[in-house]
Symmetry: C2
Subunit: 259 residues, 2 copies
Amino acid sequence: MVTVAFVGLGLNDERGLTLEGLEEAKKADAAFAEFYTNFMPNLDLKRLEDLIGKKVRVLNRSQLEDDEGRELLSFGQESKVVLFVPGDPMVATTHISLRLSLSIMGVKTRIVHAASIVSAICGATGLQSFKFGKAITVPYEEPLPNSVLETISENRERGLHTLLLLDVKAGQERQLSIREALSRIESANANFRELLAVGVARLGAPDEKVKGGRLRSLISEDFGAPPQAIVAVGKLHFMETEALKALCGVPDEDLREIR
Amino acid sequence: MVTVAFVGLGLNDERGLTLEGLEEAKKADAAFAEFYTNFMPNLDLKRLEDLIGKKVRVLNRSQLEDDEGRELLSFGQESKVVLFVPGDPMVATTHISLRLSLSIMGVKTRIVHAASIVSAICGATGLQSFKFGKAITVPYEEPLPNSVLETISENRERGLHTLLLLDVKAGQERQLSIREALSRIESANANFRELLAVGVARLGAPDEKVKGGRLRSLISEDFGAPPQAIVAVGKLHFMETEALKALCGVPDEDLREIR
């Protein structure tokens, strides 16, 4: 029987792999990877291959999804296959669909979980996990869909933070930047100039950058290379206020008149 | 200068550690761990010690927090210390506070991220990450605080799922079970008998159990050993409906009349 294990690569580089993921990949007959749902510019494919003792074939979206994962199954009837995925595998909803297709074909699937920005954002910013409302992706799509500002506003009405994921351009090594996303939010509604936000670039990397402030000033901050994400801040617990100052470099004056 | 690295242990056992976390722990002068913010019954401390080549001292809440982490600093002025934490370190908000205290004392801190139930719940259930609203912990506290049912209802009004974390009893190896939490929700408001929910036990372990259904029937399901958690389901995308059937064993009749 064929088994496909979705193995998370976590954050930053190949060392985001867990010991269990490494075991699973060493035992596998074939290894694949995708980097279209997320960026891992610091991951060294050669080092990953050396670690697991086999070649890793990188698939693009159409190779992986157009035939509902059959590419993964071309290694015979008795194979164990791993598919490396950035972050925690099923945070990319497209892989839930792939997993269901494989299940319908009678392929056994399993998941080896890894770190995801969804939880790591708390460590990077000091904002509390249970204070986050619904997350949303800021897409490349023009004009900016209303759902982005609505999600931020609805969360803020309930005192909650919003994780804003930034779109990855299909087929290109390009991600919407913090600056681009903030400009598009400001253009859509000038009231958001006063929004308190935190930008996070290269989470988990040695050169991780975390910087917060009002949107109007944050918009001119240079965050450097991807991957990047933003938090739109909601109501603050006093410990979160301290964290924003100590960990996110938010100036005191930007913290006045926050609900 | 002292450095404290908060190193996530991820899910299930010591193999949830990342390759980066392993490197960090091997290089450290001293290793500590805590298991009071979460359960890891399958983790073998001896195997963890063998992996990192040094003893791991397990601290309870008061040892770690009463002196604001000074216990971690008792290894001299030039030490590198790791503190192992279940899941992704800063999802437990108490560690944000510890990290801030250490920062104030001039101690450099870093985080090695790992898998957390906050993202892994999507893989276990097939429910989509961006469809989750605010999460909440069901506490041991009697009576059940209104905030639990309010959070579920507010999320559901917006079509969103709610991750219900289950309280861990301080100082004891005991966690509120799925069954106990569901009974308490039912007792607080009988209308919740029709709530569609998914119970998840031992996420990431070989004997992981995922089972969904209406609260009234799910309440008699035996989920076995901890750790456990619940998702209160909101509005479903058709792919999520398929996932609930295929991955969570939700019977067809339980999926009728869901908004």
